[in-house]
Symmetry: C2
Subunit: 428 residues, 2 copies
């Protein structure tokens, strides 16, 4: 039984310094529970970075070459909190191959190279944990791995990007424009200076990939599904949705349909009484529909130095606990099923469809005929006749992906009409 | 490594039959994950009960004497889902002493005899799990035990009684009276025919005791704290709270103040934007404030056959997993601290205080003086002059338990005035 776990950290940024703080604060409690002392011995920084005060105060050594950590025989666990794919992938792989457990918060990496990294961990009999990679401080991955063994998840809906949820909340509550909301999110440090990954849904898509693995034991790639962000959402759509009793939220969705999976990231209408509707600002929430429990939701901060670092250190404590048990290193998610995609004919949702029609009275009857042809039942919830154009919004009953696609394609093919917005409507 | 876990069930009621169904449904998946096959071999029923069809279909034996289960050397785990304190306490104790793991959903028992039962489990090197005992389908106890090791919980606020939350929701949304809401909860099967435990806050208090153990490692008794239910709440108070931006919810509260704990069950005002405010009808939610994560909330069904049974079977799967690891039986909650209560001077909240004054104009100035004497800062949010009496409602700034107590006592001592309602106001 090892009584001490020596830790090397790769990267001392927002999360890395939080990890140092939390280990320092919670070390005694963790030792009480696990019998193991967590000890940070080294941290990798850039040559220019001055972290010497922190290192001196906490008694660890600063290093400038990753090998000083990944090849150090005394280090038991490597914490990767540098971000990006390269060289994080290489550093983690090396650490695993050197028989070290790894904890990371890197969702980009886990979504894109997760399969390989998990394989490397298994081959080297070490653990790879990454609770912080989805929904920062919410212990969602551990809950999915541990508390749904006796259940069958059918649908996961996540508000898993704090930046866009903050923006949408501000747009609704403060009548702010998209641009102002983005500027404010940046000023508050939620959004990166290059906000593309957030506003285009890519960050949410990475997390949806990871959630799919934990919910269904299935590895999908980000290219396997449609990813839409919140660019192009306008206040008019949001206001209309509100008046109909919905909030507009960027949702990462992963659903089991038959033996296959349907995933998507896109703005969607969430009924005001749905638990996800009340998640405001930078908070995250993951809603799970399952056969046994029914509906459950897990809510908390999606990011931030301390919440994210707390998840990282919880992973360290779990490793410590396993260490002291002297049993083989467990894997984070052991559930595995064959990759299969849902039949689009079987995936059905209601839709909010906004149509922009040039000012020709003949267009709407034609569109009505298209809807009928594709078996789409709807009601018109807005019909605004402008001087140059007409805006119509339909709320449809549940239709499948094929019907939806055919209808949108046909409308867009008509001259002078197009679907300006289409959003799924979630069930209460 | 045992490849099979033989299970005996005590009681085949709502939860017990759910356990049979879930084990049957999820057995394959659990075997895949844990390597262990769950097998129900016996169930204790009453002599009169006819469960022979279920027993035959599922291939287990019905027994009428608990010893046929607790003393059966082939049985590894006993599931207690009979309810009540006696004879459940004796049956569980016997099972533990016979070296059997125990899973139970019995909050009454855990709150009142938890300390002894945990001790018996430890002495006999077996596990005692009871995830289902708090908030039915929500995996809250496992989350507190596993995902807050690297964190420090400062406050837990729970909507943990579905019956009363259903009633309060209906009273607000349907303008229903207390009596009608209760009758409807009973008709829907949420409330027992004797609803005392629900409406008087006792059920919530049992769960608050268990939450306190998991949040702070501390055993308190139900007599250690104030327990108030929703009897006597009137629609007028709820409507006023609503107009001020609050929902009225029955809250089980357990807070760390200094080195001590403050616990209470009582109706409280929850700001509309607080995550607990959106928990409607029979659903439960547990909100956790902590140093690292900050705010998190866990939402789901608080009761029901399948949700509750799913939690029971998750406990069984955890036992199966430990079994296959061949390691010593772990305990559900290992966190332990010395029992200590918070200094009432240090426990502070804002309050909603409704005063009923007989129609004497001199009373209000006297009450104002009392407030000033106790250092209570408030604003008057309602002042209704009836023909016979005057109703005043104050919203105070944060005051401590001592100030509150002194003020309420003094007001009630004045002739012809009394505090008709006092509720804590939760922070956003
Ligand atoms: N921040 C959050 O709230 C949050 C939440 C969930 C997950 N995460 C994930 O956590 C990881 C870290 O995020 P963060 O917010 O802490 O980022 P950050 O503040 O940019 O910190 C990363 C640190 O690592 C350093 N670094 C990068 N490559 C390095 C190298 N090759 N050698 C030495 N140092 C290197 C960076 O230095 P330079 O700045 O000089 O490159 C920076 O100091 C990311 O994967 C992120 O996605 C973050
Ligand atoms: N129902 C829920 O949603 C829920 C949620 C969370 C926790 N729980 C807890 O789960 C436990 C079971 O609840 P439940 O709703 O399933 O209750 P239930 O429907 O009343 O089931 C209990 C069953 O056990 C039987 N029983 C009681 N004592 C017995 C004895 N000495 N010998 C044989 N059979 C006996 C009862 O028979 P009789 O009816 O003849 O007494 C009844 O069939 C309770 O501790 C409850 O607090 C329930």
């Amino acid at each position: 039984m090892r009584k001490r776990l020596q830790i090397g950290i790769l990267g001392l940024g927002v999360v890395g310094t939080g990890v140092v703080e939390i280990v320092n604060q919670e070390r005694k409690k963790i030792k009480q529970k696990t019998g193991v002392d967590l000890l940070i011995t080294k941290a990798l920084v850039r040559p220019g970075e001055d972290k010497s005060a922190l290192a001196a105060a906490q008694g660890f050594q600063l290093v400038y070459d990753s090998k000083d950590i990944t090849e150090d025989p005394d280090i038991d666990v490597v914490v990767e909190v540098m971000g990006k794919i390269h060289p994080a992938y290489e550093f983690i792989t090396e650490a695993l191959e050197q028989g070290k457990h790894v904890v990371t918060a890197n969702k980009d990496l886990l979504a894109q190279k997760g399969t390989q990294l998990v394989q490397t961990a298994i081959e080297n009999h070490v653990s790879l944990y990454y609770e912080a990679s989805v929904a920062g401080g919410i212990p969602i991955l551990r809950v999915l791995a541990n508390s749904f063994v006796a259940d069958e998840i059918t649908e996961v809906l996540g508000i898993i990007n704090g930046t866009t949820n903050y923006m949408l909340t501000q747009m609704v509550e403060q009548q702010m424009t998209y641009e102002d909301a983005l500027a404010q999110a940046q000023a508050l440090g939620f959004a990166e200076s290059n906000p593309k990954n957030d506003v285009d849904g890519i960050d949410a898509a990475y997390k949806t990939v990871i959630l799919t693995r934990f919910a269904y034991g299935l590895d999908i790639a980000i290219d396997d599904f449609v990813v839409k962000g919140i660019r192009g959402i306008d206040l008019e759509d949001i206001a209309l949705a509100q008046s109909l009793g919905y909030e507009v939220k960027l949702i990462g969705l992963t659903k089991k349909v038959g033996e296959g999976i349907f995933a998507e990231v896109a703005p969607a209408l969430v009924p005001k009484h749905h638990p996800l509707a009340s998640i405001r600002n930078e908070f995250n929430g993951v809603f799970v529909r399952s056969r046994g429990i029914g509906q459950s939701m897990y809510y908390g901060p999606g990011a931030g130095s301390l919440p994210t670092a707390t998840s990282v250190v919880t992973d360290l404590a779990v490793i410590a606990e396993n260490q002291s048990d002297n049993k083989p290193a467990p894997q984070f998610c052991t559930y595995e099923t064959k990759k299969a995609f849902a039949n689009p004919n079987d995936v059905s949702y209601g839709y909010f469809i906004a149509l922009a029609l040039a000012d020709e009275q003949s267009l709407w009857p034609e569109i009505q005929k298209l809807a009928e042809a594709y078996g789409i039942v709807y009601r018109v919830v807005a019909d605004e006749q402008g001087s140059e154009s007409r805006r119509l919004v339909l709320l449809t009953e549940a239709i499948n992906e094929v019907q939806k696609h055919q209808f949108v394609t046909s409308v867009n093919q008509l001259e002078a009409s197009n679907v300006s917005q289409i959003m799924k409507v979630m069930e209460e």
